[in-house]
Each structure stands twice: as structure tokens, then as C-alpha cells.
């Protein structure tokens, strides 16, 4: 795969002094879904807004499909769509008019069939003649997505598209994102629902205090940084573990009736059978066992906290 979006040494310092982005390098591959994760104020929206031309970078440069977003802004913006985090909509325009306006704004000839397709895909067709101010928050969110899709972008930014929407709309949106991926659209997604990123993203990037601290394929990230948790329900409660098991990171829980073991996800095949044999050798019997893999959310929280700790130590 080749990079559709390439960000090099991107730096942004706002007039107030906030250093929002610090020499960010990032490549987004053609056709992938990339989840950009980070706590509030990490620089996600600044990064997106620079690519889209809304914020001026202090230094660095960005290319979309090999074209510079400043020198060839007409081409890059023509092929880039943005669904903003906030519900920025006109109040008095109808749904159909505002989506048609977006297509014209991006320099495309009217195409009523495409507009109808977009509105139908987003369940907005029945509301096409309604003024936007009469719509619910969820429907307004759909309108913003329809506006971003009106000009058939190659690269689509979804800045927290499911923030504050109900479960049904969130699932609709996941389906829509999958459908867009099928048509070859490259999607950069920011979200606070890490489950969403885990479910959909091919790769995950974590941004913290304006720096990209990790970019990894989602599966590989889960393997590398994910933890698995094994719980053994003991036949006979124990007050303490035999000293011979001290080299294992085992803990007793539930008043000695459960033995917990946490290990790196990629060590599963090597360590679990060995542990079970050791327990058998020690005469520790169990009636049931459960395993659970840590979620991307847990990995994300660990990463962010780890970074906090490093900052605190440095401070």
C-alpha cells in the first residue's frame, strides 16, 4: 500500500503559546481506516484541521496523494472530506439544499442521483425538505456526514462522529464506514469510544501532548501490548501460594477461591500450559477456568498513563 496522506514534521504553536503539535510525522495508507486516539487536548483536531486547510501550521508539510496541501490546495481539498466534532449546521436551510450546497462548494457539477444516494444511505431522504433546525442531534450528525460525502472524497476525516449519538445511529455509522471502505475511501477516525476503533480500524495511532507516541496495526497492537487474563476457580480455597510459584505473577482473589494470572497476549502458547502443569505438580486443583483479553481501551489507558508517568518523572 502507498500513503494517501503524508504528514512530515508538522508543528503548530498557537498565538496564545499552546504547542498543539510537535514535529508530527504520519502516513495514512490508501484505503485504510486509521483511528487516531488521544485524550482531550492531545492535538487530534488540530492535526485534522491543518490537513483540511482550516488551521495554518507553524511548520512542516502535508501531502494528499503526493500533492502539497498548500501549493495544490484546490486539488487536495477537492478530494478531502471532513465531519467535524461539533454540530456546526445552518439552521434554516433544508437538508437537501445544504447537502447540494456542499457539492457545489467543492467545485462539482450538480448530481441529484448522488445526493439522493447519500441521503438514502444515511436515512435522511424522508427528511430532505426539512429545515435543519427541526432535526434531532443525531439527524444533524447524519447531515454533517452527508455534506462531507456530497463531493465524493477520497480521504474522509471523521472527528468523533459518534460523540453523543444513540446506539442505533452509532451502528448505522459503523455500517456506513464499512461501506465507504468498500468503495476505496480512506478514513481517519478520532473517537472516544475505543471499542469503535478496535472494531473498525486497520491501524491505530495514539497522540499525546501533540506527539504521536505509537502507530501500529490494530491486531498487532493487541498482540504486542495486550494482556490476557486467566482466572482459575480453585477446588479448595488457599490462604497463600506455595513459594515454588513465586516466579509466576499470580494473585489470589475471592478469599482464596480464585487464582488470577495476567500475561502478555503473545505469550499465551508458551506460558499457560507450563503454568497448568506446575499447578498440577503442586496439587492445586481447579473446577473452572476463564480467559479474557484486555481491550484496546485498557491498552490505550496504559499507554497514556505510562506517558504521564514519564512526564511526571521528567518533571
Amino acid at each position: 500500500m502507498t500513503a494517501l496522506l503524508s504528514i512530515e514534521n508538522l508543528d503548530k504553536r498557537y498565538a496564545g503559546g499552546l504547542h498543539a503539535l510537535k514535529s508530527v510525522d504520519l502516513d495514512i495508507e490508501r484505503g485504510e481506516i486509521f483511528a487516531l486516539l488521544g485524550p482531550n487536548g492531545a492535538g487530534k483536531t488540530t492535526l485534522i484541521n491543518i490537513v483540511c486547510g482550516i488551521v495554518t501550521p507553524t511548520s512542516g508539510h502535508v501531502t494528499v496523494d503526493g500533492r502539497d496541501t498548500v501549493r495544490e490546495f484546490r486539488w487536495t481539498r477537492r478530494h478531502t472530506g471532513l465531519v467535524p466534532q461539533e454540530l456546526f449546521t445552518d439552521m434554516f436551510e433544508t437538508v437537501h439544499d445544504t447537502v447540494s450546497f456542499s457539492r457545489g462548494l467543492f467545485g462539482l457539477a450538480p448530481d441529484p442521483d448522488h445526493i439522493e444516494r447519500v441521503l438514502r444511505d444515511l436515512s435522511l431522504w424522508d427528511k430532505r425538505d426539512s429545515p435543519i433546525m427541526t432535526l434531532s442531534g443525531g439527524m444533524k450528525r447524519r447531515v454533517l456526514i452527508a455534506k462531507a460525502l456530497a463531493h465524493e472524497p477520497k480521504l474522509l476525516f471523521l472527528d468523533e462522529p459518534t460523540a453523543g449519538v444513540d446506539v442505533e445511529l452509532r451502528r448505522d455509522m459503523w455500517r456506513m464506514i464499512e461501506k465507504l471502505r468498500g468503495t476505496g475511501v480512506t478514513i481517519v477516525l478520532t473517537t472516544h469510544y475505543i471499542e469503535e476503533a478496535e472494531r473498525m480500524a486497520d491501524r491505530v495511532g495514539v497522540i499525546r501532548r501533540g506527539e504521536i507516541i505509537l502507530v501500529e496495526e490494530t491486531d498487532s497492537l493487541m498482540k504486542k501490548l495486550g494482556r490476557k487474563h486467566l482466572s482459575l476457580h480453585l477446588e479448595h480455597p488457599m490462604s497463600e501460594l506455595p513459594a515454588s510459584l513465586n516466579d509466576w505473577t499470580l494473585t489470589l482473589a475471592d478469599r482464596g477461591r480464585r487464582l488470577d494470572y495476567s500475561f502478555a497476549a503473545d505469550e499465551e502458547h508458551s506460558c499457560v500450559p507450563v503454568l497448568l502443569k506446575r499447578l498440577q505438580a503442586e496439587g492445586i486443583e481447579f473446577t473452572n477456568l476463564n480467559t479474557r483479553q484486555s481491550t484496546l481501551e485498557e491498552i490505550f489507558v496504559d499507554l497514556v498513563h505510562e506517558d504521564d508517568d514519564v512526564h511526571e518523572e521528567a518533571g
Binding site: I54, T56, F101
Partner: protein, 258 residues
């Protein structure tokens, strides 16, 4: 595939959007200036005007027509252009305009063009309304129309600057209400400066509106308070100043981009 040098469709989309706003509020947009003008004609044209003699051989009712047209054109150009660009800044929808393949120059053209179109239309409607009240003969109609378009363009540029500068609705109204309206009333809309005491004639010459109103009146009646060339030079000078400020906004993205 290369992108076109100009995004005419994008510019047209913004222009049409602004004109649609005008259409949505058509009655309000038309009724207010027309009603106000009719009231001016009744009060100043008929009630008071009948007691005032001709000015430069022009009936007083006819004399105030150019000034009344410009009174509306000034305020409507300022209001429409400032509101047009301020609203997307206020509501946040400016994100879409800024992320579109539209240059800032095209953006200015679209907003200023739409605001100027609206105020020229209103000016012509007021002119038509005035014909119902007074016998009006326009000496140089083509020049009068060209001058009207220039005035609308100049004040729409100024309105655009106000819309970028303003940080609230109060600021949006500040210059039109507290600066332009008083200067217009004192700018020879209802009188010729020859009718003022000498000291006030001199003071009036510091009011830029005098020059603009005088030039417009010249194309109606062939006479004005100052030379038509001075009026034209003042108007062009005003346009150049506004274009200078706008081009600085375009270059720096002042209050449009962070």
C-alpha cells in the same frame, strides 16, 4: 486530473446561498427599506418638502431621492456583507467554507458580490417606489447605475471587513448604526450643504459621505455639492482602502484561520 484555476462553482454556491438567505427573508428585506423610504417621502417630501423651495432647480421631493437610495444602499451593504461572513463564523459552519477548494479571494467575491447585488436591487426598488411620489428625471441613467454598483461594492467590502472584525452581534451593529447612519444623515441626504451656515459647510467637507451622495446626485440632476470628479475619486479611494484591508485579511487569514 488537475484542479481548475478558479472554483467558479464554489464561488457561485456561496453567492447563491447568500441570495437564498435574502429570498427567505424577502418580505423583511424589502418591506423595511421600502416602508422607511415611503415614510421619508411622506414626512420630508410632502409634509415638510412642500414648504421648502427648489434646490438647484430641483423639486425638494426629487432632490432627496438619490440620498434616500444611498441611505438604504449604505446600511444594507454593510449589514448584508457583515452578517453574511459573521454568521458562519458565529455558528461554526465556516469550517466547511475554509476546508473547501475556494480561495479567500473567491470567498470575498462571493460574499461581497451577493451583498452588493442585494443592495443594488433594493436601491432600484426604492427608485421605482420614489417614481410613485415624485416626477423624477435621471440625467445619466447608465452612469447613475454604474455609480450605484460601485457604492454597493465599496460598502459591501467595508461590511465584509466589519464581519471579520466583529466578535459579537453588538460589534456588528456598531459601525453601521453609530458611525455610518449619523454621517449619512449629516451627509447631504436631505439638504444641500449650501443651505448650511459657512462654518458647518466647512465641517461637512470632512464627512466622506458628502462626496459620495453628491456624486450620485450629479448623475440624476447634473449638479452636486462638490465636483463629480472629486466624488468619483473619493469613492475609488474608499474602494482602494477597503481592498487593501481585505487583501491583508486574505493574505493573513486574520480571524478566519488560527
Amino acid at each position: 486530473m488537475t484542479a481548475p484555476m478558479l472554483n467558479l462553482r464554489g464561488t457561485w454556491a456561496i453567492y447563491k446561498f447568500e441570495m437564498a438567505r435574502f429570498k427567505r427573508t424577502l418580505w423583511q428585506s424589502l418591506a423595511t427599506p421600502i416602508l422607511t423610504t415611503v415614510l421619508y417621502f411622506i414626512v420630508f417630501g410632502s409634509a415638510i418638502g412642500s414648504r421648502i423651495g427648489d434646490i438647484d432647480q430641483v423639486n425638494y421631493g426629487a432632490f432627496i431621492v438619490p440620498g434616500l437610495i444611498l441611505l438604504t444602499v449604505f446600511t444594507q451593504s454593510l449589514n448584508n456583507a457583515s452578517f453574511g461572513i459573521y454568521m458562519p463564523r458565529f455558528s461554526g459552519t465556516i469550517y466547511e467554507i475554509l476546508s473547501a477548494p475556494v480561495s479567500t479571494t473567491e470567498l470575498v467575491l462571493a460574499y461581497v458580490g451577493a451583498a452588493a447585488t442585494k443592495s443594488v436591487l433594493l436601491g432600484l426598488i426604492i427608485l421605482a417606489t420614489a417614481q410613485l411620489f415624485v416626477d423624477l428625471h435621471i440625467g445619466q441613467p447608465v452612469w447613475m447605475l454604474a455609480y450605484l454598483v460601485m457604492v454597493a461594492f465599496a460598502f459591501s467590502l467595508a461590511g465584509f471587513i466589519i464581519g471579520i472584525w466583529a466578535e459579537g452581534f453588538e460589534a456588528l451593529q456598531f459601525i453601521p448604526m453609530l458611525v455610518v447612519t449619523p454621517l449619512t444623515f449629516l451627509g447631504g441626504v436631505f439638504y444641500s450643504i449650501d443651505m448650511l451656515p459657512e462654518i458647518w459647510q466647512t465641517i461637512s467637507l470632512f464627512n466622506p459621505i458628502i462626496y459620495i451622495v453628491s456624486g450620485f446626485r450629479y448623475f440624476f440632476f447634473g449638479s452636486g455639492d462638490v465636483s463629480v470628479w472629486v466624488s468619483l475619486a473619493s469613492l475609488i479611494g474608499f474602494i482602494v482602502i477597503c481592498l487593501g484591508i481585505v487583501s491583508w485579511i486574505v493574505r493573513t487569514g486574520h480571524r478566519l484561520k488560527t
